[in-house]
């Protein structure tokens, strides 16, 4: 699992050269945290671009969950609210709720995850995205963590 995470981190880092500022790693678990994204304490990320916010789970989250075997996602058009569950990820290990870091209406769902749930592991910040939301209160983003803050949060959680 470490090996695949490292490979993953390298790949995401490379990708980040074109679309994002450099990524940096958690010292303890080699998970990648991207600059420019916002993070929830329940380990989801959100990328706000124009009128749409994309939501997924972090590299740290997928690393802890292990191989994702099923992703349960809602329909386009349903509304989500900040802090509430909109779906679930099933790994070999366990079932986990996915919470939306922001409120709004779902405008797109990543249907590729139906056939290839493993994208959540191999590409948590890119191909493994889950939903796109039209935020109803974009100010909610301000209460989320930045990359540095989230990295620190994970390190503290790990050390428990």
């Amino acid at each position: 699992m470490w090996a695949s995470s490292i490979a993953n981190a390298l790949r995401v880092s490379t990708a980040s050269r074109t679309s994002f500022p450099p990524a940096f790693s958690l010292t303890r678990c080699f998970s990648t945290v991207l600059e420019g994204l916002k993070y929830a304490s329940s380990h989801e990320w959100v990328r706000h671009e124009g009128s749409v916010a994309t939501v997924g789970i972090t590299d740290h989250a997928q690393d802890h969950l292990g191989e994702v075997v099923f992703v349960d996602l809602p329909e386009t058009g349903t509304s989500v609210s900040s802090g509430s569950s909109f779906g679930a990820v099933e790994s070999v290990k366990a079932t986990s709720d996915i919470n939306s870091p922001i409120s709004g209406e779902i405008v797109e769902v990543n249907t590729k995850l139906t056939e290839t749930p493993g994208l959540v592991n191999s590409s948590p910040y890119e191909d493994g995205w889950m939903i796109k939301v039209k935020p109803s209160s974009p100010s909610e983003l301000e209460s989320l963590m930045g990359a540095k803050e989230y990295t620190k949060f994970c390190e503290e959680e790990e050390s428990h």
């Binding site: 699992m1 292990g66 191989e67 099923f70 070999v92 996915i98 959680e157």
Partner: protein, 406 residues
Amino acid sequence: MRGGLWQLGQSITRRLAQADKKTIGRRCFASDADLKKTVLYDFHVVHGGKMVPFAGWSMPIQYKDSIMDSTVNCRENGSLFDVSHMCGLSLKGKDTIPFLEKLVIGDVAGLAPGTGTLTVFTNEKGGAIDDSVVTKVTNDHIYLVVNAGCRDKDLTHIEEHMKAFKSKGGDVSWHIHDERSLLALQGPLAAPVLQYLTKDDLSKMYFGEFRVLDINGAACFLTRTGYTGEDGFEISVPSENAVDLAKAILEKSEGKIRLTGLGARDSLRLEAGLCLYGNDMEQHITPVEAGLTWAIGKRRRAEGGFLGADVILKQIEEGPKIRRVGFFSSGPPPRSHSEIQDTNGQNIGEITSGGFSPCLKKNIAMGYVKSGNHKAGTNVKIVIRGKSYDGAVTKMPFVPTKYYKP
């Protein structure tokens, strides 16, 4: 039952540790100081073990390999598990067998010395107190291993009955093997690798057999048994020799036998169709309902004489009202407590264990359904998060077992 992502990895602990209600709902920092450690604790940490609370112990849920890879590797090569949290117990005395037969469903008297079997401790209502592998070492010495989560309850139960039995003049006493550790070595490389470490000929030792022998320089109790469906052994080793033995096994396998945690152990036993006490078997479930009628034995069926025998023998005669069966299903993997419906949407039962099978690459589950819905091929619906998914009753084991038999 579900945890958010922030409870990462803790969910399985709760799922696996239901026998120990204290563990439920604890988070990562579940007062680690209270947790017991096996002598292999530091060894686990050095090898990358992710330690979690389990039945009052700090145990590795996985190491560096993923649960998927660990599960597959056990069946392709082999796995080494630390199962020292389980409780080994010896009962000794000339009346040991009649004493134990009052508490379990198995034909202990009928076992040849040096052999063992799976059995169930029952209560007055015929429900299961615990399942256990019981071995007749000699006619006046029984060795058994009970679940960690049931240890206190089992020991209290046995002690109460032992007091009463002794007060009537019965000769039985116990010894709890807290001076020993327990390693499970499972998979196709288990026997060839263990053979490097002992002079005894393991090819003459079959599934269910027991020996006291020297392994890697230590006097061990060896049982050819396990909880994965593979050929393999459980090795009770003096605790001071446990780390050396674990190292020797890994070294002799040239890295092919991997340290394996509780996560893969759960996948493996589910694929093998084996019950997890606390999930698939509980106080109110009888061995007949659980599909373990085979463990009762002809003589015990004729004579009874164990707790709850009246209920259990009547169920054998009339057929149980509910039965444990296996399922394949589509959609998300069923988990404990998922509702089972017939194709008309009527409730017929509940899932007790389920997950994605790393070896079959599809969902497998077990649960209880009302009799009549239990035949292989019966179509069912399994309800997960309010949606119903197609499933079908399937024979178990899901993955063929490979026990070493003559």
